[in-house]
């Protein structure tokens, strides 16, 4: 009993860490409507500034902390609000989530570029360590707190009390909540929405800075990934508080910390339970909370009643594109693919050919995102894990039964589909953000519980997968493998397009835009969504199996870690979540772009070496450009891509297509008009109702209109 209590008390500091992050997230969500996955990245930025001024410039503790928390934190918040989130105020929660995903990817890379990669340096302790066992507790207990932990506890409690006061009693709290819901209606109430929104962001970013400075010493090295993983763990507390209640969130954080400490103390240390379950516990709790916490399923997204003041969104390409254009585009696409294939076959060396093959296989995995995100409207963050399942399935089957690799890939896809279906049944009942979190929790559980198991991944050494032989053709030759991959991609895209244009796609689209209306005509949302999720899992698994075959082994760490999966989502969604060509292009882009940048960044150094007489300032300027910047710059650009999602929710490639389709249609019409022979106008002319009068309430979007709910 004694030890149980001691263990429980030992969990309190960790619990406060969870609580601080979770409360910060809830604050951001309440005051800006953004479920800010980049909160950890913001914390990382402040922490990095703190350590640079502490270590490299030897600032005193107080000034360094003030700079990092009170200056840098709010400054980042202000910047984000001004250049980004103010354009997103009336966007849906999905757009905001994807944007924060982009920031999550971009911010740490920006920090690394500006401050240098700090992850290899050990951060110093906050201040000299004073342990509570020296002055508070008798020496024989094992409960030990250091000054950092005390500071964390004190800061967390202060923050919670201050925020509860803010929301319960101050008019600023009320105004913040009003602005989140409808900035325009707040304006009608005499509230300066701009200023309130800036204040909100500065406040929540200040909290991110505080969390960063306090939490960084917990880790052996300062690393954005660790902070993000910690943030995901803290999400359990956020969900416990229902995304709104700050006291409940605080309690949830404490409970989580205590639970973890008690389990750690009571579980045997050498069992699979201890090694696998302990780190996965927060994710498991998060997952279970999402499935079973009452009240999460019934939340319908609150929409701005005045959203119709905005210009209506452009009509989707499919609606304005005449049939002959669709046929023409596809034929043109086939020609481009054939030419590209020939160019790769004859011109590329092994290195670039490999990147192209990887890109096309990734394109297939991206197509699974089209089905689940683009068509199904479900932001799944676990497609990488499902791809990994396909890869492991393939490798295990080949290793265990010696069956043909091609058969194994198909069976691997079926296994992934099975896992996807099992996951989908409980998860599709959740709405937007919650579904994204549940799939993220699944990805992390998979990573920490299942990947280490030898019957899944083969253990420490990745399982190898041989290249198959199709008749006389040996796919061990990369060029034949390229052809094979392109054929697979073509087959998968045919499947995706048929589903998208077919009844399945139409039902999903109906569900995505109006759940209740779809139900009113007899469409079962649960069934359609489970089907979409399962199909997507099968495609991801298939892509994963192909990837393992190409690489020669099912290697989780290099091919499928969950963070890479998040980059994929950000990349695809910003390119166009419904478009097959966007999937393939973003797959290629993911592999080729960093490689091209690396080449680009090696030029200056080489030039300096071969031109020793160049002026010294030129040499030093050029010499400073490092080839290893490429990865950072590429990730920043991927992140910025996701950020543009706010402006083109249909995706940049889709938007580009819409523009060019419009231009071509107009051009053809003009020619036909001149000839005077064309059939009737393929695009319905805008009626007076559209041009002269705006789509006012009700005619624009189905959400903003008169009337009432039940």
């Amino acid at each position: 009993m004694e030890t149980l209590l001691e263990n429980a008390v030992r969990g309190i500091p960790t619990g406060c860490v969870f609580a601080l992050l979770a409360v910060g997230l809830v604050l951001t969500y309440k005051t800006s409507g953004v479920f800010n996955l980049a909160f950890g990245a913001q914390a990382y930025a402040s922490a990095a500034v703190f350590y640079v001024v502490r270590k490299d410039h030897e600032w005193p503790l107080l000034w360094a902390a003030l700079l990092a928390v009170v200056v840098v934190g709010p400054a980042i918040g202000l910047l984000l609000e001004r250049v980004l989130f103010r354009y997103l105020r009336t966007a849906g929660s999905m757009a905001k989530l994807v944007t924060s995903l982009g920031l999550l990817i971009a911010i740490p890379e920006v920090v690394k570029l500006v401050l240098g990669d700090e992850s290899r340096k050990n951060p110093p302790p906050l201040w000299y360590v004073m342990r509570t066992d020296e002055w508070l507790w008798p020496r024989n207990t094992s409960i030990v707190l250091d000054a950092g932990q005390i500071a964390t506890i004190a800061a967390t409690v202060t923050v919670v009390v201050a925020l509860v006061l803010l929301f319960r009693f101050s008019s600023l709290g009320l105004r913040m909540r009003a602005v989140v819901e409808s900035p325009r209606m707040a304006e009608l109430n005499g509230v300066d929405s701009e200023r309130v929104s800036m204040t909100s962001w500065m406040l929540s970013s200040l909290l991110a800075g505080l969390a960063g400075v306090l939490l960084a010493p917990l880790f052996a090295s300062l690393n954005p990934l660790d902070l993000f993983t910690l943030l995901v763990a803290a999400l359990a507390a956020t969900v416990f508080g229902g995304l709104t209640s700050i006291p409940l969130t605080f309690a949830g954080g404490l409970l989580l910390g205590v639970l973890q400490a008690v389990l750690a103390g009571s579980l045997p240390t050498d069992s699979i339970l201890a090694t696998g379950l302990r780190p996965a516990l927060p994710f498991l709790v998060l997952f279970l909370l999402l499935l079973f916490r009452p009240g999460l399923r019934s939340t319908r997204e609150v929409t701005d009643p005045l959203a119709t003041v905005e210009a209506p969104p452009p009509a989707p390409v499919a609606l304005v594109r005449p049939h002959w254009m669709t046929v023409g585009t596809r034929a043109f696409g086939a020609v481009v693919v054939a030419l590209g294939l020939a160019a790769c076959w004859f011109l590329l060396d092994g290195y670039w050919l490999g990147l192209v093959i990887s890109g096309i296989i990734l394109g297939i995995i991206m197509m699974s995102l089209i089905v689940v995100v683009g068509m199904g409207g479900m932001l799944s963050l676990c497609q990488a894990a499902l791809a990994a399942i396909g890869a492991f399935g393939t490798a295990q089957l080949v290793a265990a039964t010696g069956m043909s690799v091609l058969g194994a890939i198909v069976i691997g896809a079926v296994i992934a589909a099975g896992v996807g279906a099992l996951l989908a049944v409980p998860v599709v009942r959740l709405d937007g953000v919650y579904l994204a979190l549940a799939t993220l929790a699944f990805a992390l559980m998979f990573e920490s519980i299942f990947v280490p198991l030898s019957w899944v991944s083969g253990g420490a050494v990745p399982l190898s997968v041989p290249r198959p032989l199709i008749g006389p053709i040996d796919l061990a030759d990369d060029r034949w493998f390229l052809l094979f991959a392109v054929l697979c991609a073509a087959a998968v895209s045919a499947v995706v397009i048929r589903l998208r244009e077919g009844t399945t796609g139409r039902f999903l689209q109906a569900l995505q835009t109006s759940d209740v209306a779809a139900a009113s005509i007899g469409i079962s949302g649960r069934r359609s969504r489970v089907v979409a999720f399962t199909v997507a899992a099968a495609i991801a698994g298939f892509g994963g199996g192909l990837m393992a075959t190409y690489v020669g082994q099912a290697n989780y760490q290099s091919s499928f870690p969950y963070l890479i999966g998040l980059v994929w989502v950000a990349l695809l969604v910003s390119a166009g979540a419904r478009s097959v060509q966007a999937a393939v292009l973003s797959g290629l882009f993911f592999f080729l772009f960093p490689a091209i940048l690396t080449r680009l960044f090696t030029f200056p150094g080489n030039w300096v070496e071969s031109n020793p007489d160049a002026p010294s300032w030129v040499a030093s300027a050029l010499g400073a450009i490092q080839p290893n910047w490429a990865q950072s710059v590429a990730f920043i650009l991927f992140g910025i891509g996701a950020i543009t999602y706010a402006k083109h929710p249909e995706g940049s490639i889709e938007a580009q297509t819409a523009t060019s389709v419009g231009a071509i249609v107009r051009w053809v019409e003009r020619r036909r008009g001149d000839a005077g022979t064309g059939p009737s106008d393929p695009v319905p002319p805008p009626s007076p109702e559209v041009t002269d009068a705006p789509p006012l309430a009700g005619t624009g979007r189905p959400t903003a209109d008169s009337g009432s709910p039940g």
Binding site: G502, T504, V516, S520, I521, S524, S706
Partner: protein, 254 residues
Amino acid sequence: MSGPLLEAEAVSKRFSGIVALSDVSLHVADGEFVAVIGPNGAGKSTLFNCLSGVLRPDRGTVTFRGRSLERLRPSARARLGIARTFQRIELFGGMTVLDHLLVADRARTRRGGLWSDLFRGSRPTSEELERCGIVLELVGLTEWADRPAESLSLGKGRLVELARALMCDPALLFLDEPSSGLDRHETAEMSATLETVSRQHGTAIVLIEHDVPMVRRLAERTYVLDYGQLIADGPTEDVLGDERVRVAYLGDNS
């Protein structure tokens, strides 16, 4: 005289302590046109939601053609032939008017699905187009069939909702304030369409409205709700002349 189609007996619903409906009974016969009126917040929409399956009543039974609806979700009720429109217009984004009707038709006939999408293609058949054409004609949207539904005016949008509901070939149709937000011309158009639907197709209709002339013109019988309770029901003219209805709902100038 046709048999009972929908029978709701003593339906009650509370929301965190507030009584939204208490012991409300409502009967609709085949082909009947019934209105539900009452002050704001009287529980009219809650009643609709309980009947169409969006909400589950705390007490009471709802049967449709003698079959209990208790455990059926809205989509299952729709497949039995219960369709509805919404007070706040609910259209599908990115779809033309015709698409709305086709989707509803596919949901009713259960044609299509994963395999048929993959192996048989999903172009609309001529029978499907014919069925859609009939309904489009009925609601007067034929020339708007290929327009994106989002670009239409509110009045046309409400007609699209009606047409979509009709594609389910409903025996019973719930309409939640179909004239709300419409100007007088659009209201007239809506009234005329509803009259046709009711007369020519024998669809039973339950209508929530604040437009008293429209109720007077269309409904054979009227139920009046106030504070979640039924305060009057009977032939429309009688109910509208009732003293209690006058005090609770109509006021003096009607």
